[in-house]
């Protein structure tokens, strides 16, 4: 039956695409154990030498520390402004709301360098020196859109009726916010936090312009790359991959716990929705 051969061809194609998606990562991991380093085939002389070298590399680890610090701050800033922004888009009406909505989403799809260099201009105009703080500022600003989108999606799924019930039972707006709204958004917020953290760790485009003396991890790797490829980079890349894998498993685990329908959760992917143009309708 043609149906069978059709779907078999499709399955083969799907496998091929998956292979394409994972091939570089697999190569990276395999070659991080390769004796002679990058290149050459087949890989031989398996060794942990590069990981050992990595362990002793002070500059890398200080950049990792920097990155983590920046990422944590970015999470705080992005959520701190993103949660109210999502709430505002969901339930407040004010002049310029449509413009605000688009403005908040812009850094998500504009080339990162534009956000970076325009912030640079601002800092220069205000005569602020570049440092890790300016990077925190940049990441936070760029990633507010991620927080807003995730929380907004969570608000859409939440029940307005619960808040109304709370008010009906005598709680004030603030009490309702802390006791009902925020707990309902717990999963969205945690998901957003994980995503923001991961994106911040990997962020280059904005950081490029706002970097001071201290490097973040991607910029540290970047400066090494300009000097030439060292297999050490394979090792750190593998570690980054495993870390990302861990984060996404955590995100997946949290998302599927306590959400009404797993299917709905996955279909409402945070990154895709802004571009569907459908999610943030005028309210």
């Amino acid at each position: 039956m043609s149906r069978h051969s059709g779907s078999r061809a499709l399955a083969t194609y799907a496998i091929a695409v998956f292979a394409f998606l994972y091939f570089p990562i697999v190569v990276l991991i395999v070659y991080s154990f390769n004796g002679p380093g990058v290149g050459g085939f087949p890989p031989h002389d398996l060794t942990l030498r590069w990981y050992a070298m990595l362990a002793g590399d002070r500059a890398i680890w200080s950049s990792v520390a920097n990155s983590i610090m920046v990422a944590l701050c970015a999470v705080v800033v992005a959520l701190g402004f993103g949660i109210p922004a999502a709430l505002a888009l969901d339930r407040a009406s004010f002049p310029g709301k449509s413009l605000f909505r688009r403005l908040v989403l812009l850094p998500l799809i504009l080339p990162g360098i534009i956000t970076g260099l325009s912030l640079l201009m601002l800092l220069v105009a205000l005569n602020i020196k570049l440092s890790l703080l300016t990077i925190m500022l940049g990441h936070g600003t760029a990633l507010i859109s991620v927080a807003t989108t995730e929380v907004f999606a969570g608000l859409e799924n939440a029940e307005r009726a619960q808040e109304e019930a709370s008010l009906d039972l005598g709680a004030t707006y603030w009490q309702t916010f802390w006791r009902v709204t925020l707990p309902n958004l717990k999963l969205s917020i945690i998901g957003a936090a994980l995503l923001i953290f991961t994106l911040s760790i990997d962020e280059i485009a904005v950081s490029f312009f706002l970097i001071g003396r201290d490097n973040t991890l991607p910029l540290e790797i970047w400066s090494r790359l300009r000097r030439g490829i060292t297999p050490e980079i394979n090792a750190i890349s593998t570690i980054i991959f495993l870390f990302s894998l861990g984060m996404i498993l955590l995100w997946y685990y949290l998302r599927t716990r306590g959400s009404r329908t797993v299917q709905v959760v996955f279909a409402d992917s945070n990154l895709a929705e802004p571009l569907m143009g459908a999610v943030m309708e005028e309210r």
Partner: protein, 282 residues
């Protein structure tokens, strides 16, 4: 239902932040694009249109922009070619393994962009995995040069990076198609292929448009892949901007180009949104 105080409390802080750190910087960008740089390497606030004139008349900028758009279009087409069938498979044919496969597509997204671009760099080089394998199996006799430091490498890398990005909205729109519609179509005599063509494809267009636009816009503004893998023939418009803010020190010109990119991106997104609205049903 919500008091004015509550509304003010949730509106004002983000509004302020966005105003100071997004609106003002874009505003500055706007202003800079009309200024000039003096020979002494200082910014002269001399309002003029020279930067824009330069963009239109100096061929190299236009060429680079054109090349960037070509690369972005190729990436857009390729990611759709890879991402759509993948999304269709996961949505309609994956059965019980659907969620697992979905996760498998998302995982590369979470892996550092730099790491993935770097991985391709190691694969495509003359000493890289691909060349050594090809030579090992005697498919070619000497390493292929065009693999790296070329637009080809940029397109390949960006396709790899953005295929999951395209997968997401396409998958979402496919998932939104109620399964009874597919059954109804078959019930009325349409084979699976006809059902795809007459029912599934039209209803998934908004997602495909969103994905393709996303891929195009992000590729257009990309600066890392061309820098790592593009070589001189693979320079894209963002690299030009970065240089103008760096060694070439011409912030006004850089701002002008950035503003053009901004306008282009916003226009494309606006058009895409209109298209999506027109093609979304029910």
């Amino acid at each position: 239902m919500f008091s004015r105080a509550y509304q003010a409390a949730i509106t004002v802080p983000p509004l302020l932040w966005v105003g100071v750190f997004l609106l003002a910087p874009y505003g500055l960008l706007f202003c800079y694009s009309f200024w000039a740089v003096s020979p002494a390497q200082t910014i002269v606030r001399d309002w003029n249109l020279n930067n824009y004139r330069e963009l239109l008349h100096v061929p190299v900028y236009f060429e680079v922009l054109l090349r960037s758009m070509r690369i972005a279009a190729s990436v857009s087409a390729l990611t759709l070619l890879l991402g759509y069938p993948l999304a269709y498979y996961v949505s309609f044919h994956a059965g019980a393994r659907k969620h697992l496969l979905y996760q498998l597509v998302i995982i590369p997204l979470w892996v550092s962009y730099l790491v993935r671009a770097y991985a391709w760099k190691t694969i495509l080089g003359t000493e890289g995995v691909l060349n050594t394998v090809l030579q090992y199996f005697h498919i070619v006799r000497s390493p292929l040069e065009f693999l790296l430091y070329s637009p080809f490498a940029v397109v390949l890398t960006l396709t790899h990076i953005y295929t999951p990005f395209v997968f997401l909205p396409v998958y979402a729109s496919l998932e939104h198609i109620p399964r009874p519609l597919v059954e109804a179509s078959q019930d009325l005599g349409a084979s699976p292929l006809e059902t795809f063509w007459r029912v599934i494809l039209p209803l998934s267009l908004p997602g495909a448009v969103a994905g393709a636009t996303f891929a195009f816009v992000l590729s257009l503004g990309d600066f890392l892949a061309p820098l790592l893998l593009g070589g001189p023939s693979g320079i894209m418009i963002s690299n030009v901007v970065v240089t103008l803010f760096g060694a070439a020190y011409n912030w006004p010109l850089g701002a002008a180009i950035s503003l053009c990119m901004l306008m282009l991106v916003v226009t494309l997104l606006f058009l895409a949104e209109r298209l999506e609205k027109r093609w979304s049903f029910g």
